[in-house]
């Protein structure tokens, strides 16, 4: 990890996020991308959930947002938010819409939809 020339990602406060993620490292490449869409599921929450998880679920209970928006509103680094979200997701508290698979990125119909949408909104 501590190669002399490699930047290391750190969270804004040195200790807290480490606690939030229970000391685990940040996942290399998980289920969550910046634009993965997330909302809270109907599953009731237990009383003992971590405060950070509570806050994320409170935010997600209002509707669907991207991972980036959740990080922006929570004022937490993306890496930390991904850890919290993957925990919540594996515990069943979230409904997750994964981003467009790589193979479809250059998909003609997706690009056409983007173009049509831009024309419709901005003339």
């Amino acid at each position: 990890m501590n190669e002399p020339d490699e930047p290391i990602v750190e969270s804004p406060e040195l200790v807290r996020p480490y606690v939030i993620t229970n000391g685990r490292g940040l996942p290399e490449d998980g289920q969550f991308n910046l634009i993965t869409l997330v909302t809270a599921s109907d599953q009731p929450r237990p009383a003992h959930l971590d405060p950070e998880k509570h806050r994320v679920l409170d935010l997600c209970a209002g509707g669907m947002l991207s991972v980036a928006e959740i990080a922006g509103h929570m004022k937490l680094p993306i890496g930390i938010v991904k850890v919290v979200l993957s925990d919540l997701s594996s515990e069943g508290y979230l409904v997750v819409r994964p981003p467009v698979p790589r193979a479809q990125l250059a998909d003609v119909s997706l690009l056409q939809e983007v173009l049509d949408g831009l024309h419709a909104r901005f003339g």
């Binding site: 501590n2 190669e3 002399p4 020339d5 490699e6 930047p7 290391i8 990602v9 750190e10 969270s11 804004p12 406060e13 991308n33 910046l34 634009i35 993965t36 869409l37 405060p51 806050r55 409170d58 935010l59 209970a61 209002g62 509707g63 669907m64 947002l65 991207s66 980036a68 928006e69 959740i70 990080a71 922006g72 509103h73 929570m74 004022k75 680094p77 993306i78 890496g79 819409r97 981003p99 467009v100 790589r102 990125l105 250059a106 998909d107 003609v108 997706l110 690009l111 056409q112 939809e113 983007v114 173009l115 049509d116 949408g117 831009l118 024309h119 419709a120 909104r121 901005f122 003339g123």
Partner: protein, 200 residues
């Protein structure tokens, strides 16, 4: 830090949205990235900050501050709902080669990049263009004219920036919504022609 719940100012997506796409809006310092994203976004633009630590001392030249070993890299982003099913996110960050993590996150799954360029400061765009190419993202150039800047011909720009003949060059005022939308449209059209070509 306070613990105000974020939900108070969150603007949620329509429930029917199924697909999210993203486009990067990049360029050198003060070229108009934040302005562009603010002009186009339907939500107040958001920002995330990642703090980077450099174990070595080489961060000095990057920051211009001796002895400083951490720095914050900010990413601005905004959102445009394009249909009941589709939302587009715009992400902006300066091209700082060392912030690999941020660039990997941003470029992964992106449709392409709009590179904002100030014609008076072309050299400052080299690093960003290199970086976008390095990550294999297709891009268009958006020339943001600041007041009283000389108008350069497309050929001149293409030559100076070492662009492919096919790379679109558009002029844009990031403060103007129609102009900014036209720049995005030019990029997406270009992405379409590339896709069509690769399928034949």
């Amino acid at each position: 830090m306070g613990s105000t719940p974020g939900s108070a100012d969150a603007v949620y997506l329509d429930g029917g949205v199924k697909t999210a796409a993203k486009i990067l809006v990049v360029g050198h310092f003060a070229v108009g990235k934040t302005t562009f994203i603010g002009t186009m976004s339907e939500i107040p633009p958001l920002r995330t900050e990642e703090r980077m630590t450099q174990a070595g001392a080489q961060v000095d030249d990057l920051m211009g501050v001796r002895g400083k070993t951490t720095t914050t890299v900010a990413m601005d982003f905004g959102r445009i709902t394009l249909s009941e099913k589709l939302v587009l996110y715009l992400f902006g960050t300066p091209g700082q080669e060392r912030f690999v993590q941020v660039w990997e996150d941003m470029t992964k799954g992106a449709l392409g990049a709009l590179i904002l360029v100030d014609p008076e400061r072309l050299k400052e765009s080299f690093a960003v263009i290199d970086l976008v190419e390095q990550y294999g993202l297709p891009y268009a150039i958006s020339v943001n004219h600041f007041d009283d800047t000389a108008i350069r011909s497309d050929d001149e720009l293409r030559e100076a920036l070492d662009l492919l003949p096919e790379t679109p060059i558009v002029t844009c005022d990031a403060r103007d919504q129609k102009s900014s939308a036209d720049a995005l449209i030019a990029l997406v059209r270009y992405l379409q022609t590339r896709t069509a070509r690769s399928m034949t």
